[in-house]
């Protein structure tokens, strides 16, 4: 299933912040986790993660440090800040409202087709 681009974009920030809330991480690992969480159904354009991370850094939601990976390559690690946690809580509240509203819509919307089928 392909998930709509706008939906991916809208959920990207809370997902990344949520993953970072679990602990420090870096780009590739974050994407791996998104893959695992969505069981591979949410495909991001990998590169787009980086401008997003940089935006979060500029907004002060995350901080970054360069570390050396086991492979010997330099790797940029991201760590969530207090302001990032606050932003995550805020997003979470927003998504809860959206999810609740959608949930009701699904419940109301799924009934009519079944009824029509029964009559046909």
């Amino acid at each position: 299933m392909r998930i709509d681009k706008d939906l991916v974009a809208a959920s990207a920030t809370p997902l990344v912040l949520g993953i970072l809330a679990e602990g420090e991480s870096y780009g590739y690992a974050i994407l791996e986790q998104v893959n695992a969480l969505s069981r591979g159904r949410m495909q991001w354009t990998d590169g787009m993660l980086y401008p997003l991370l940089h935006r979060l850094e500029r907004q002060g939601h995350v901080t970054s440090t360069w570390r050396t990976a086991d492979s010997g390559r330099r790797r940029k690690h991201y760590l969530i800040t207090d302001s990032g946690r606050a932003a995550l809580a805020e997003r979470r509240a927003q998504w809860a409202v959206v999810a609740e509203a959608l949930d009701q819509v699904w419940r109301d919307a799924t009934t009519p087709p079944i009824v029509t089928k029964g009559w046909a």
């Binding site: 870096y26 780009g27 590739y28 994407l31 354009t45 990998d46 590169g47 787009m48 980086y50 401008p51 940089h54 935006r55 850094e57 500029r58 907004q59 002060g60 970054s64 990976a69 492979s71 390559r73 330099r74 790797r75 940029k76």
Partner: protein, 448 residues
């Protein structure tokens, strides 16, 4: 092993392609290369060959153009010129830049003729008062053309020029009065913010665009200085050479070359900033690093001089005005270095130096404020004093908050973006202050 070498070459090539996108810095490429390599090795583990793995990994990374656009939006400071210059390399661009050259030259000549006409027709102090009005509309027109502003923005651009022209020429200023000089000094400052509106193409609410305008102002000033230096040397040599032939060309230079040179330089400098930023881009951080410590020394020396002056009331009035100019310079330097800094870089030595600069400016400002208030208490109000006092308060508010944010940044309590945002948000205050001075101070003091 051969496949492995091929993979390395492929990755090197990919790096080269990415780096050609100027919005993506070397550190970003490092970061993405690490990602690419992880992805490739994980795909190889899943059974793909090196070639296949590389192709899939690159594909997943996304289109470089789209990626570069995202980076450009996020890091506009890296390529503020590309955003305005449109990077596409085609015939269309060539024609576009030719057309631009024609527009720039016509506007430069227009500005020069307008200044020359002003010299010819205006009498007495009216020339000095109107000089900015004669030149700056052409600069605004250039940006209005360049940014293809909407009719609404264009109208918003014209109104302030008309207003300032009316105020400067219809106010019944006393000859040689202080208020006329004050209005003449503040009018160009207020108009510069109108240029700013044209520069940002009407998008004045955007912090990013405001920062671009600060950058533009700094670079424009650098270019103008360079042009003035070159022009000065050239004029000096020409006058000298003609002098040896017993020909006096100074009147010609004064009547024609100077007005054309000055007005033309204002427009051409703006065009140079737009078109040739790469050259100066490397100078901006250097200039700020050289002049920030020097300015600190100057401010400290001034403070010491203040301390040895027996009484602050005796401080000369002209010195106070001079000091205001120095503080404006410090603020300009601060804005310029903020605009040249990579906002993501962690606090470093230079940020401390900059904080020292702001602190010493603050100290000077407080001393000045005391001196001024004492003078006012002693001798009463005058137009000069109220303007100097107002400017001081405007600067004081900015400096105090800058110190607060600067300390917060150095302690890691907040990002550099806060400091940037404070400066960009504060920017209109200067324009409003200058406009208020032009409009309100002369009537308040009966145009004396």
């Amino acid at each position: 092993m051969d496949a492995e070498t091929q993979l390395q070459t492929n990755i090197e090539q990919w790096r080269g392609y990415v780096q050609r996108h100027r919005a993506i810095s070397v550190a970003d490429v490092d970061e993405m290369e690490d990602h690419l390599r992880e992805q490739v090795s994980s795909l190889q583990d899943a059974g793909l060959s090196a070639d296949e793995a590389f192709l899939v990994a690159v594909k997943r990374m996304g289109s470089l153009d789209a990626l570069s656009r995202e980076f450009a939006i996020e890091h506009s400071e890296r390529l503020w010129k590309q955003l305005v210059l449109l990077p596409a390399e085609s015939d269309e661009t060539g024609r576009q830049s030719n057309r631009e050259l024609v527009v720039v030259l016509s506007l430069a000549i227009g500005a020069a003729l307008s200044l020359k006409a002003g010299f010819a027709w205006l009498r007495g102090s009216a020339v000095g008062v109107n000089a900015a009005l004669l030149v700056l509309p052409f600069l605004a027109a250039y940006f209005a053309w360049k940014r293809q502003v909407t009719a609404k923005v264009a109208a918003t651009l014209i109104v302030p020029f008309v207003l300032v022209a009316l105020v400067l020429n219809l106010f019944p200023f006393e000859p040689d009065g202080a208020t006329e000089v004050i209005a003449a000094i503040h009018a160009p400052i207020a108009l510069w913010f109108v240029i700013g509106l044209a520069y940002v193409g009407g998008d004045w609410r955007s912090d990013r665009r405001r920062m671009d305008f600060i950058r533009f102002t700094g670079e424009w000033f650098v270019y103008l200085t360079l042009l003035a230096l070159g022009g000065g040397v050239l004029i000096g040599l020409t006058v000298g050479a003609f002098g040896t032939l017993d020909l006096n060309i100074e009147p010609f230079i004064e009547d024609w070359v100077l007005p054309f040179g000055v007005a033309g330089a204002v427009i051409v400098a703006a065009w140079l900033v737009e078109a040739k930023q790469n050259v100066v881009e490397n100078i901006a951080p250097v200039l700020t690093r050289v002049f920030t410590p020097l300015t600190i020394l100057m401010l400290l020396a001034l403070l010491a001089a203040f301390a040895t002056t027996p009484s602050v009331i005796d401080v000369d009035r002209t010195l106070l005005i001079q000091m205001d100019l120095i503080l404006v310079l410090v603020l300009g330097l601060l804005l310029y270095s903020i605009s040249a800094r990579d906002p993501l870089a962690p606090p470093g030595f230079f940020d401390r130096v900059q904080l020292v600069l702001v602190l010493s400016a603050l100290a000077v400002d407080v001393v000045m404020l005391t001196a001024m208030l004492t003078r006012i208490a002693e001798f009463g109000w005058s137009p000069n004093k109220i303007v100097a006092l107002g400017l001081n308060v405007v600067l004081l508010v900015n400096l105090v908050w800058s110190v607060r944010l600067g300390i917060g940044f150095l302690r890691g309590r907040q990002g550099f973006a806060e400091l940037e945002r404070w400066q960009t948000r504060y920017l209109p205050v200067y324009g409003i202050w200058a406009a208020a001075v032009v409009i309100a101070v002369p009537p308040a003091f009966d145009f004396v």
